[in-house]
């Protein structure tokens, strides 16, 4: 796609959309949203980038290797947090009892492990969406 308007608008929109996605991920435990929604939004911005600037440039921004690391990393991060609970409090995925910081209700730094898990999910979902799209686009042709 070689349209200057589309390219420039995309350049302007993408940072805002990504910041919005990050906002949704980080605020998942105090307002509507969370890892899935935010991750999907970030993933869509990456898809948009690939659509507008072409596959090669998109690959540079978010390489195959990075997505592979993010995919396994998301689950490993999740399991690690769960294992903290297993080791400290004798149960998998324990939250407050495992010593995660409590914070004050309604602030961003609260909810113990919930925001940590949300970050992991967000990264995972974003990378999954972009790599699924790349796989579907790459094939054949």
């Amino acid at each position: 796609m070689n349209d200057i308007i589309v390219k420039n608008i995309t350049r302007i929109i993408i940072p805002f959309a990504q910041v919005y996605g990050i906002f949704i991920i980080l605020n998942g435990h105090v307002s509507p949203g969370g890892g899935f929604a935010g991750g999907a939004i970030i993933g869509t911005t990456l898809i948009l980038y690939t659509l507008v600037f072409g596959r090669e440039k998109g690959k540079k921004k978010f390489s195959h290797k990075a997505s592979e690391i993010a995919e396994s990393g998301g689950i490993i991060w999740f399991v690690t947090i769960g294992l903290v609970g297993l080791v400290v409090a004798d149960r998998f995925l324990t939250n407050i009892n495992a010593g995660f910081p409590e914070g004050i209700i309604g602030e961003i730094l609260s909810g113990g492990m919930i925001p940590l898990l949300m970050i992991g999910i967000g990264v995972k979902v974003a990378s999954t969406m972009i790599s699924l799209f790349n796989l579907l686009i790459d094939e054949g042709v």
Partner: protein, 126 residues
Amino acid sequence: MWLDRIIENINYIGAIALFVIGLRIVVTHSNLIKRIMGINIMGTGVFLFFVAIGNVTGGVPPIVNPEVEDQLFINPIPSVLILTGIVVVVSITVYSLSLVVKIYENYKTIDQKELSKLISEENNEH
């Protein structure tokens, strides 16, 4: 009387209607992409059913505000369950779409009837 009952249960009826329409598309349509869409419609039907169970007239989303007392919240459990469900259905959709791409590459058609014809012809050749 009947109208009241229908209006009261409109979400349930809508959910069941979507479920049945989705099922019809999956079972009777011969186009593979349409069938995947049917699965998605079926899925949203089930999700709508779940959410309708959790709905409370005059309730608010379950986000606690310590300063406001005595709020009537909706039931949070169905929302959680379908948040999981939506992502699951997307994964299945993507996987079946990838199969459709491969089927088209090999058979040059995405119509179930033509596909069955091609496959039976191939089997007869051998």
